[in-house]
Symmetry: C2
């Protein structure tokens, strides 16, 4: 397949100016120039452009990208795996930011307080991540297993605390569910309280809460006999009632 600037630009979702610029700085040269001076790109260039855009999306500057893709020892597969890692790291960074936003919203609602320091945690984490990338190996070689153990202990401790909260929450869900079931109305305040407790419960297992997923799980409680059994154990029909409450809670039904 051969492409002119416009064809390739359109396909890649970039401007023709960008392609000319990439030619200019020598990061992506056309396969050939035709008799009228037009740039003609081939399949090889398509792949290279894809690589370039990958790295660009990462926020990598074109100079660095150039080094990578023009390197004689360029290992495409390895670069991709590294790229993938970076993307995952970027997502972790995003997650941190999101949790920071959540925290800030909670602060606005007066539920918690944040120090001036804490207000920038999400952003500073990024810097720390960069440091980790640069010096991580050195640090690990210096301090050995110490840091790793510390981190593991932290996870252990969190798990301990979380486990207690989870146990308490799951009991609360059941208790509230049975009480709400008596009202017979999944839109009742108590039923909605149940749905909210259930959301909190799920939030321990999910990295990210979404209404759709919540509604899906609630439906699954009715479809999957294992879950139905758990909620219906004391009160037949409780699972379906919880589903209805959650569907209303998530706005999937009214």
């Amino acid at each position: 397949m051969e492409y002119t600037v416009q064809k390739l630009a359109q396909m890649a979702g970039i401007s023709t100016r960008t392609l000319r610029y990439y030619d200019e700085i020598g990061i992506l040269k056309p396969a050939r120039i035709n008799s009228s001076g037009y740039r003609i790109y081939g399949g090889k260039e398509v792949n290279l452009l894809q690589q370039i855009l990958f790295y660009r999306e990462l926020g990598m500057n074109l100079d660095s990208i150039k080094e990578i893709v023009t390197s004689p020892t360029f290992d495409g597969a390895k670069a991709l795996r590294e790229h993938r890692e970076s993307l995952l790291e970027k997502r972790r960074q995003l997650d941190l930011l999101i949790s920071n936003v959540d925290k800030t919203i909670a602060t606005k609602e007066g539920r918690i307080t944040m120090t001036d320091q804490e207000k920038f945690e999400g952003f500073k984490q990024k810097l720390m991540d960069d440091n980790e990338k640069k010096y991580g190996k050195e640090i690990r070689e210096k301090y050995g297993e110490d840091a790793i153990n510390k981190s593991n202990n932290k996870i252990k401790n969190m798990t301990q605390e979380q486990h207690e909260e989870i146990t308490k929450l799951s009991n609360d869900v059941l208790e509230t569910l049975y009480a709400a079931f008596q009202t017979g109305d999944p839109a009742s305040v108590l039923a909605q309280k149940t749905a909210d407790l259930h959301r909190q419960f799920l939030s321990f297992y999910w990295d990210h809460y979404s209404k759709e997923a919540h509604a899906t799980i609630a439906q699954m409680y009715v479809d999957d006999e294992r879950f139905t059994a758990y909620y219906d154990v004391k009160q037949p029909g409780a699972a379906a009632f919880l589903r209805d409450a959650v569907l209303i809670y998530t706005g999937m039904k009214k």
Copy 2:
């Protein structure tokens, strides 16, 4: 609390130049200027800077940010909620990119083939998202519920498919677990296969898999009697065996 440029910059993880620039373009003016001409920032400015950095992190240009934060009708809480939404969207975009990378790696390994078009899916989605943001409301007003219903059906269908896969997976986990249990060795190939199936199972519930979380859940299977009961129903000790297999699988134990 009062801060000089350096203090604030350090706390926020930005340069003093940035703070002066933000003063210059009128996006963040210090609370006051002291007798020596030094910029002095207060708590109000700290909050504003936090907002600004939030939006900046989003890739929003400073002009737009300025409009938002200096608007007389500026609703901080609303802005934050919108910001949260944008972050979630950005994460979805990231996920698309990651799946694109995965696909490309698979292509390199010769497992699947991608057309030139497909190679840019991840990037073009971004453009479509931008269009959606710009024209989404208009489209929805024009085409009404149609699009929404389509989307909902998609979710429903996915749920249907997913449910079948989840059911199959959870059965596979149990079967493989009991077979592996006979070997008595949580490091055995079969036990590791079980752990991998379990990972796949969890991946349906989690947006993002992490080894730590996987190990934590496995430990919980032993700590929480409800889960223990589920795995031990046919084979006492199976939950503990699964935990050990997962701990090895995740590299938390050897």
